[in-house]
Amino acid sequence: MSHEVGPDDLMRLLDGELPPERHAAVEAHVRTCTECRRDYTIFQRMKGDLRSMAFENGNGPSLWDAVSRRLFRPSGWLLLGVGSVSLAAWGIVSYMTSPEKLWTKLATGAVAIGLALLLLSAILDRLRDLRTDRYKGIQR
């Protein structure tokens, strides 16, 4: 395009972004210049195909279902956490103040602490593996 109408003008004409005072001149040029008319027609067809492009959006549920689930999930975890800690604390206090023998209390406490430590170390191992797992993104 080596004339008074440049590629930017052609784009602006195509997209309806030319100022009114320039519009008529560019349009007239495109009508008479073979090279510009050919370019304009090709770009116009491409634009048309793009506009009508039927990108499938997936027939799944609206994104809102998934978004809302994830928005409310932290509240669920928080309630579960607070509830569990309260119940555990109440259980421990009740058990420790119960008329059971001391050695029974100590043995039960050791079992509970042991289980908690094992669970915690398994969770930490899993988290460490996740951070370095090269195949975590692979969908099976």
Partner: protein, 187 residues
């Protein structure tokens, strides 16, 4: 969506009333998936990215200036999300070459079912888009798929408005060359 309604919804969300986020999600989810699909190439990744972008938008909605339009702000978040997704996809060397377009493919023959021809043209364009640079693909998608004005594109890409036309020209020229190579557009 009317801007006054949108502003009101944003204000409610900023006040912590998450149920008012639903109309915003429903209003922009189609655009979001369309944009993400064009940038990422497959619909599942697009839905994931759109979902993630909506969550990020909600979590940072308190920092959003409610007097501005929600759409460009959200699209910015989504574009960043898509860019991150592409980056991590590359980092994991999981780029799937989904180029199934046979070389020398022709425009559907005249007389063929119109819908079928349109679907085929869309598919060819989509494959053409996939071969462009991210920046080229992005500007074409913002203009032709989402119908943003030059001013809105300039705001999205943080470039001067005068640069939009020349960037669009380069991007469309690149797409045209890809389609010509594939035999879809006659040089």
């Amino acid at each position: 969506m009317e801007s006054s309604v949108e502003r009101e919804l944003v204000r409610k969300c900023q006040a912590g009333e998450s149920r008012f986020f639903e109309p915003l999600v429903r209003a922009y989810e189609a655009d979001a998936v369309r944009l993400a699909r064009a940038l990422l190439g497959d619909v599942d990744a697009a839905r994931d990215a759109a979902q993630e972008a909506f969550l990020k938008a909600f979590r940072s909605i308190r920092q959003f200036d409610a007097s501005r339009s929600f759409r460009p702000w959200f699209l910015q978040i989504l574009r960043n999300q898509c860019r991150d997704a592409l980056r991590s996809r590359r980092a994991r060397a999981r780029i799937e070459v989904r180029d199934t377009a046979p070389e020398g493919r022709n425009v559907p023959a005249a007389g063929e079912d119109r819908n079928c021809a349109r679907r085929e043209a869309s598919e060819t364009i989509r494959l053409g888009l996939a071969r462009l640079d991210h920046e080229e693909r992005e500007i074409i998608v913002l203009k032709d798929l989402l119908g943003l004005s030059y001013a809105e594109i300039a705001e999205q890409l943080e470039i001067p408005e005068g640069t939009v036309a020349s960037r669009l020209h380069h991007a469309r020229k690149a797409l045209r060359e890809v389609l010509e190579t594939a035999g879809v557009v006659q040089p």
